[in-house]
Symmetry: C2
Subunit: 115 residues, 2 copies
DNA sequence: TTGTATATGCCGATGATCGGTATATGCTGA
DNA sequence: TCAGCATATACCGATCATCGGCATATACAA
């Protein structure tokens, strides 16, 4: 599906599920921990992303539990989800590498702008 | 605040300008080259991004040239733009590192992933 | 003269995310 | 006691970057 790049929340949801199956709220917590508290996923964003990723076949329901009358629906990465996350990760790394090289070069230059 | 993560086209525009001042069309070409042809910026995306980034103070007009009756408006990164790109790059690298570690761990596990 | 490359720019549609709200339950503290 | 917070899922309207197309010019090649 198109190499429309993933947005940050979507990428982080997949990364959270890459570690182990998690239910929605646990994904929110893991994403917050992973980003040092910077990213607090909104409930609307999270559950919409979960539905969308499931429809795309990148994640699937692992199991459901009921704890203290509350439902916990656990999701896990599918094979396609894992490949998608790996591809996206490679893209992030490549682009970071290119940008870093260029940023470094700016401070390596002695005085002048290149012609 | 500006905690809102940059989208891919915006990041690539800044990366293109990090190397040297470029005019719009040259940005499109550089981004295509940088991504191995994967990302072909739309004119609408590019010029809207240029206007937006200029309004945000991340880029500014470097100079204007007229070549064969056609205007070329060159843009360059500002100090704020350079810091913003550096921050975004760090974010990409961190997230790629976390995702890679988790993806690797999945294949390190004894017994492999459940079908 | 049709098409491609250069070059900038506008405009409507799309869709992921944001921010808020709703619905429950259980725990803690004033 | 009752307010507030954490847990947990889910819907909703608004925002806005991007997409995809179109318009405008000029120059050159097929």
């Amino acid at each position: 599906m198109t190499d429309v790049p993933m947005r940050e929340p979507t990428f982080l949801v997949l990364t959270a599920l890459a570690e182990e199956p998690r239910h929605g709220y646990a994904v929110i917590e893991d994403v917050a921990a992973m980003t040092g508290g910077r990213v607090r996923l909104r409930a609307g964003t999270l559950y919409a992303a979960l539905d969308r990723l499931r429809a795309e076949g990148l994640i699937e329901v692992d199991r459901e539990e009921v704890v203290q009358s509350r439902l916990r629906r656990y999701y896990r990465l599918t094979g396609a989800g894992e490949r998608s996350l790996a591809a996206e990760t490679a893209r992030l790394r490549e682009q970071a590498t290119i940008a870093e090289r260029r940023l470094r070069a700016r401070h390596t230059e002695l005085g002048g702008a290149p012609a």
